[in-house]
């Protein structure tokens, strides 16, 4: 990946120039954006219910939890790693939250849950940097262990959480105008994460660590510290997703968030972030997330047989990634 081009050349999202040309460039070179637009246009024709404010906000709210995990995953994958523990940490967070809420109140519960997520993420980072465990294996272990811990703490049951109405409003069922609160919160996190990745020194360090760890180290960057920080961030975001789960559904579910990490990874790769790290875009991860979310939605709205849906989703994910990789290769060949 170290072919000397900077990010603004590699990811069209950041290309300078006038807006129209930029948009055209974006459409042509990024299959995810084109695919999303095509999906929206086709779906609008297929179902009269699709392009309604209610439906779009439903879809956005359904995918807030996977979205938060996908943000964490974008950072992790850009840094050259992978994290499989998102769904399990989410489940652990909901269980801990449901247990903690009656004891420490809702504000304290938020703190405890975020701390649990941070600890899980930090352990992943520590295993990878100090323990020299490959990220896939370390986070696979965390995935299994966190879900096990969630089952132990809940004794295998779904726990009904005793939550303050303010918490339920802010994290789950409330609205600000037409916008559901979880969508608003997740939107803020998306924008913050995008700005941090693109405009801060820390964000640049994450990219450099993924692109060229040796160079990063020689230029004085704490490579291992950056790696631990991205896994911790991922853990915190997965725990935040757990808070949204609690707010919306009102229960701690040890089997909740099953396979969310895989949907998150799919969103990241459809958004064009390569597995080898070094580059990537939070906004394109959002586009990838919506490609998956709207695919689920339109198949549901059309009442397609549930079994055919899984098949269709699998095909769409693979085709989307195949095209985004081809585009990448072609654009490189042109240079």
């Amino acid at each position: 990946m170290s072919d000397g081009r900077n990010l603004s050349e590699r990811t069209p999202m950041f290309a300078k120039g006038n807006l129209v040309a930029g948009a055209k460039d974006l459409m042509l070179r990024n299959i995810a954006v084109t695919g999303l637009l095509a999906l929206i246009i086709i779906s609008t024709f297929l179902s009269p219910y699709f392009l309604t404010v209610d439906n779009i906000f439903n879809v956005l709210r359904q995918w807030t939890m996977v979205g938060l995990i996908a943000i964490g995953l974008t950072y992790v994958i850009i840094s050259g790693g992978i994290d499989l523990s998102g769904g399990a940490v989410l489940a652990l967070a909901t269980v801990v939250g449901a247990l903690a809420a009656p004891i420490v109140g809702s504000a304290g519960m938020i703190a405890v849950v975020i701390l649990v997520g941070a600890v899980c993420g930090y352990i992943n980072g520590a295993l990878i940097t100090w323990g020299k465990v490959p990220p896939f294996v370390a986070t696979l272990g965390m995935m299994t262990a966190a879900r096990g811990l969630a089952l132990i703490l809940s004794e295998g049951r779904t726990l009904t959480a005793d939550l303050a109405p303010e918490f339920v409003f802010a994290f789950g069922r409330g609205y600000l105008g037409p916008i559901p609160m979880p969508v608003l919160l997740t939107g803020i996190v998306f924008i913050t994460a995008a700005v941090v990745l693109k405009y801060t020194v820390y964000g640049r360090h994450v990219c450099l660590v993924g692109d060229n760890p040796v160079g990063a180290h020689r230029s004085g960057i704490q490579v291992e510290g950056v790696i631990r920080s991205v896994y911790t961030l991922h853990g915190v975001l997965a725990a935040m997703a757990g808070l949204l789960f609690l707010g919306r559904l009102g229960v701690g579910e040890p089997t909740g968030g099953m396979l969310f990490e895989l949907s998150g990874i799919a969103a990241v790769v459809i958004g064009g972030t390569p597995f080898v790290g070094g580059v990537g875009s939070i906004l394109l991860t959002f586009v990838g997330l919506m490609v998956i979310g709207l695919t689920y939605n339109i198949l549901n709205l059309l009442s397609v047989s549930p079994y055919a849906q899984d098949f269709a989703r699998g095909v769409i994910i693979v085709v989307a990634v195949m095209f985004s990789i081809r585009r990448e290769a072609k654009s490189r060949a042109r240079r």
């Binding site: 219910y49 439903n58 295998g156 229960v251 549901n300 009442s303 549930p306």
Partner: protein, 305 residues
């Protein structure tokens, strides 16, 4: 009357005071092998088994967790048979993979009582089977829905994990019965027996089908999720029917969020009573099928305790 009361008090006192002492004096030990201990249905069964155990201080119950893995469950039960436990009450993780256990039990002369899921062996190889019929449950649910909404309308079906035997059977029974009513349209979505997935599927379902008259979910968790969505979207008068009737379903029916739930017996304490009869040398029915009645507001007190 006084005699019985005295006996009860003595029993209670016995449970409280003699429990640690009794451990050494026990002769009967029954092993309970569940395929996993994380599903609410399994957890509920174990809780009822423990209640039964408290009433029978002379019987020791040993619980074996299969951890959703046939090999783990197989070796766990083999260990019980090796130490010549009095009887084994087993719900196999997989009907074929656990089949060798029947032979081992027979050779060691340990009576084997199968519950909930079948074991793929000849009837002579186990002492008794106790279970319920998931296909019949689907039919019961369908009949209840018809009773509530009449002969015409749209019904949303929230299916469990595709391919699981309970899903296949419940779907089959429901759809077979519904096919007899041409005015009814069934639209299916998958909720994987989980809350979050069910809520998401239901949101999409009611967006496309605002004229829905009833929701039938393959378990109570999903039915409760559907009820939440209906509430949020202010869709009133939609019948919500779940399945299993464990704690969740009972609470749902009691609070009025579920119109009904098809009761699926936990098989406890019935399977343990069956084991005791076998151990006492009584002849028992080879195949017992427990009823799967509808839990509604009216019948709630009978089935929910």
């Amino acid at each position: 009357m006084t005699c019985r009361q005295m006996f009860r008090i003595a029993m209670l006192a016995g449970t409280v005071f003699a429990a640690p002492v009794a451990a050494s004096a026990q002769q009967v030990e029954i092993g309970i092998a569940q395929p996993n201990l994380e599903h609410p249905y399994r957890v509920g069964g174990i809780e009822r088994a423990k209640d039964w155990g408290a009433e029978h201080p002379d019987v020791k119950l040993t619980i074996v967790d299969g951890r959703r893995d046939s090999a783990t469950q197989l070796s766990g039960v083999e260990d019980l048979i090796t130490r010549h436990i009095s009887a084994v009450v087993l719900s196999p993780n997989d009907s074929k993979a656990l089949a060798p256990i029947a032979d081992a039990a027979k050779r060691a002369n340990v009576p084997l009582i199968i519950f909930d899921r079948k074991l793929d062996v000849p009837e002579t190889d186990f002492a008794a089977f106790i279970g319920s019929d998931n296909i019949e449950m689907g039919r019961v649910a369908a009949r209840f829905v018809i009773e509530k909404i009449g002969e015409e309308g749209k019904v949303i079906q929230l299916e469990g994990t595709p391919g699981a035997s309970a899903t296949v059977d419940r779907k089959q029974g429901f759809e077979e019965e519904m096919a007899k009513h041409p005015g009814i349209t069934v639209v299916s979505y998958v909720g994987h027996y989980r809350l979050q997935e069910a809520v998401a599927a239901m949101e999409d379902a009611v967006t496309a089908h605002r004229d829905v008259k009833a929701v039938f979910a393959h378990n109570d968790t999903m039915a409760m999720g559907a009820a939440q969505v209906l509430e949020e979207q202010r869709l009133e008068g939609v019948a919500t029917v779940g399945m299993d009737g464990a704690k969740e379903g009972c609470e749902g029916v009691a609070s009025g969020r579920l119109t009904g739930s098809v009761y699926y017996p936990t098989m406890f304490p019935e399977s343990l009573d069956l084991a005791m009869k076998v151990l006492a040398g009584e002849t028992v029915e080879k195949m017992t099928f427990l009823d799967t009645p509808m839990i509604t507001k009216e019948t709630h007190d009978t089935y929910c305790k």
